[in-house]
C-alpha cells in the first residue's frame, strides 16, 4: 500500500538537505514573537529577570530559604527551566501556526519542531549572558567545572527535541495537547528544584521525582556551577536514561503521525 516515492528519503537525509530552512525558521520564530513590541528582543531578557525578582523577594524574605548563593542558584534554575519551557512551547504551535506554509509547499515535517529547539537555544545563550553579569555583580567566581554546563545543555536539547517533535504533530491532530502541556509545564516548574533544593523534599517524593529528566538536569547544572564539582553519578545515569527513553518514544510518535499531519490541519 505504501507508495514508492515517499520512502525514497529517510527523515534524516531530508533534514540534512534542508538545514537552511531550519535556521531560517529559528530566527523567524524570534522575530515574529516580538514583532509589534517596542522593546522587541529585549523581552526575552526581561521576562526571566522579572521572574527572578519576584521569586527572590518571595523566597528570601518571606519564606527565608537558606540556600547558599541563592540568587545565582535561582537564576540558573530559571534559565535551565526556561530553555525547556521555551523549546517545547514554541514547538507546540510550530506546525499549526504554519498551516498556510505546509499546505502550499513541501518541506520536511520535522523542521518546525526542531527549529523550536534552535530558537530556544538562541534564547538560552542570551539568558546565559545575564547569568554571567549576575556572577560578576555578586562577585561569584565559578570553578572550571562550569564547562560541564555545555554537555548538560546539549542533553537538555535532546530532551527538548524528543518532546518538541511529537508535540508539534500531536497538537495539529488534538487541540487539547496545548492545554495539557500548559498544565505539565506549570506543575514541572514546582516539581523541579528551581526555588528549593531537592534534599528538602521528603524521601518518598524524591524517589518518584528522580525519574524526571528536568530534576536531574537542573541538579547537575547546580553542581557544576555552584559547588564546583562533577554531577553525582546517580544524576547522570538517571538523566541519560530518562532522556533516551523520551527521545526514542518521541521520535517514534512523531514518525507515526508526521506523514499525514498536513491533512489534519
Amino acid at each position: 500500500m505504501k507508495s514508492k516515492l515517499y520512502k525514497m528519503t529517510s527523515i534524516k537525509e531530508e533534514l540534512w538537505k534542508t538545514k537552511g530552512i531550519l535556521f531560517n525558521f529559528a530566527i523567524f520564530d524570534l522575530k515574529i514573537k516580538y514583532r509589534n513590541s517596542i522593546l522587541g528582543m529585549l523581552w526575552s531578557l526581561i521576562e526571566p529577570l522579572l521572574l527572578l525578582g519576584v521569586l527572590l523577594i518571595v523566597f528570601s524574605t518571606i519564606f527565608k530559604f537558606d540556600i547558599e548563593n541563592f540568587p545565582i542558584y535561582l537564576l540558573l534554575g530559571i534559565i535551565t527551566w526556561n530553555f525547556f519551557k521555551n523549546g517545547t512551547s514554541i514547538a507546540l504551535g510550530s506546525i499549526t501556526n504554519r498551516s498556510a506554509f505546509l499546505s502550499q509547499i513541501y518541506f520536511p515535517r520535522a523542521i518546525p519542531g526542531m527549529s523550536a529547539g534552535l530558537t530556544a537555544s538562541l534564547q538560552l545563550l542570551s539568558e546565559l549572558v545575564i547569568l554571567a553579569v549576575f556572577m560578576i555583580v555578586l562577585n561569584f567566581t565559578p570553578t572550571l567545572t562550569i564547562i560541564y554546563l555545555i554537555p548538560i545543555f546539549l542533553l537538555e536539547l535532546i530532551l527538548i527535541m524528543g518532546i518538541a517533535l511529537p508535540l508539534s504533530v500531536l497538537n495539529a491532530k488534538f487541540k487539547d495537547v496545548e492545554f495539557i502541556w500548559g498544565v505539565v509545564l506549570q506543575a514541572g516548574f514546582f516539581l523541579t528544584p528551581i526555588i528549593y533544593q531537592f534534599d528538602m523534599l521528603p524521601e518518598t517524593v524524591r524517589s518518584i521525582l528522580q525519574f524526571s529528566p528536568m530534576v536531574q538536569i537542573v541538579t547537575m547544572a547546580h553542581h557544576v556551577t555552584l559547588y564546583g564539582e562533577l554531577p553525582p553519578l546517580n544524576s547522570m545515569l538517571y538523566a541519560v536514561f530518562s532522556v533516551s527513553i523520551i527521545a526514542i518514544v518521541g521520535y517514534l510518535t512523531f514518525r507515526k503521525f508526521q506523514a499525514r499531519v498536513v491533512e489534519e490541519l
Partner: protein, 250 residues
C-alpha cells in the same frame, strides 16, 4: 524515447468527511466507546494514472471538487496517496491557489528570500535574484511593504515571479494566472513558453478552455476523481463539455 518527468501510477486517495469533526482527546476516546460512525469516506482520487513528459505543458480540467487540487497536492508531496506511486524527476514548485507559503507579516523581499530557502535555494543564490523577481512582478514600489497589505493580484504576481526565478524542473499552476491583468497574463505566458522550451514541464489547471486549447500539448479531464479522458486538448475538452451537458439535463 521521450523523457518522462512525472509518472503517476494507480494513485488513489480517500478523505474522511467528518460530520462533526472531533479534535479533542476526550471526544476521540468517547468515539471508541460509542462506536458511532461519524465520518463518511470521500473518494477524492480513484486509480489515476498518467505521465508528463519533459518540455510538455499538461492541462488538467474538471469541475470543482473533481479532485484536481488533491492531485496537485499529491504531486507536490504535500499529501500522501493511500495507494499507488508517484515518481517526480527534478524539483517541483506548486503554485496552488494563492501564494507560495508567503507570510503576511513579512515584506515582499523577505518573503521572496524565505520562499527561496524553503524551496531549497541558498540565501546567497536567492538574494542575487530578488531584484529581478520584484521587477518581473512590477512591484518595485512595494518591495518593503508587508504583504498582508497586498491585493490578490499583487500577491499572485509575486508568487509567480518568485517561482519562475527559482527555476524548477516542473511548475504547477493552479488557476494562478486568472487573477492577473491582461498585460501580466501575456508576460507570464511568454515566460512559461520560454520555460517550456528549456525542456521543463508545466502542469496547468484552468477553467478557461481557451487557455488549455491554446497552450497545452496534452490534457486530462478529471471526472469525480477518475480519469475521464486523457489525450489531446481538443478531445479532452470535447469530453468535458459533453459531460457538463449531460449534467445540466439531469
Amino acid at each position: 524515447m521521450e523523457e518522462i518527468s512525472i509518472d503517476v501510477k494507480h494513485v488513489s486517495k480517500k478523505f474522511r468527511l467528518y460530520h462533526e469533526k472531533r479534535t479533542s482527546v476526550y471526544e476521540s476516546l468517547m468515539a471508541i466507546f460509542s462506536r458511532k460512525k461519524y465520518y463518511e469516506q470521500l473518494i477524492a482520487l480513484d486509480d489515476i494514472s498518467f505521465n508528463v513528459k519533459k518540455g510538455e505543458m499538461f492541462g488538467i480540467i474538471g469541475r470543482n471538487g473533481g479532485g484536481k487540487t488533491t492531485l496537485l497536492k499529491i504531486l507536490s508531496h504535500i499529501y500522501q496517496p493511500d495507494s499507488g506511486s508517484v515518481d517526480v524527476k527534478g524539483t517541483i514548485i506548486p503554485l496552488l491557489a494563492l501564494g507560495l507559503g508567503f507570510h503576511p507579516e513579512l515584506t515582499a523581499t523577505s518573503n521572496i528570500i524565505q520562499s527561496g530557502i524553503l524551496l531549497g535555494l541558498s540565501k546567497k543564490e536567492i538574494s542575487k535574484n530578488v531584484e529581478d523577481v520584484i521587477k518581473f512582478a512590477e512591484l518595485e514600489k512595494f518591495a518593503d511593504i508587508k504583504i498582508k497589505n497586498f491585493s490578490a493580484g499583487m500577491h499572485m504576481r509575486l508568487a509567480f515571479s518568485t517561482a519562475m526565478q527559482i527555476n524548477p524542473d516542473i511548475l504547477i499552476l493552479d488557476e494562478i494566472l486568472a487573477v492577473g491583468d491582461i498585460n501580466f497574463q501575456k508576460k507570464s505566458f511568454d515566460a512559461i513558453m520560454d520555460f517550456k522550451k528549456r525542456g521543463k514541464s508545466v502542469i496547468l489547471v484552468s477553467h478557461e478552455m481557451n487557455t488549455i486549447h491554446k497552450f497545452c500539448d496534452r490534457a486530462m479531464f478529471l471526472k469525480n476523481g477518475k480519469v475521464g479522458k486523457l489525450g489531446t486538448p481538443d478531445e479532452v475538452i470535447a469530453s468535458y463539455v459533453d459531460f457538463l451537458d449531460t449534467q445540466k439535463l439531469t
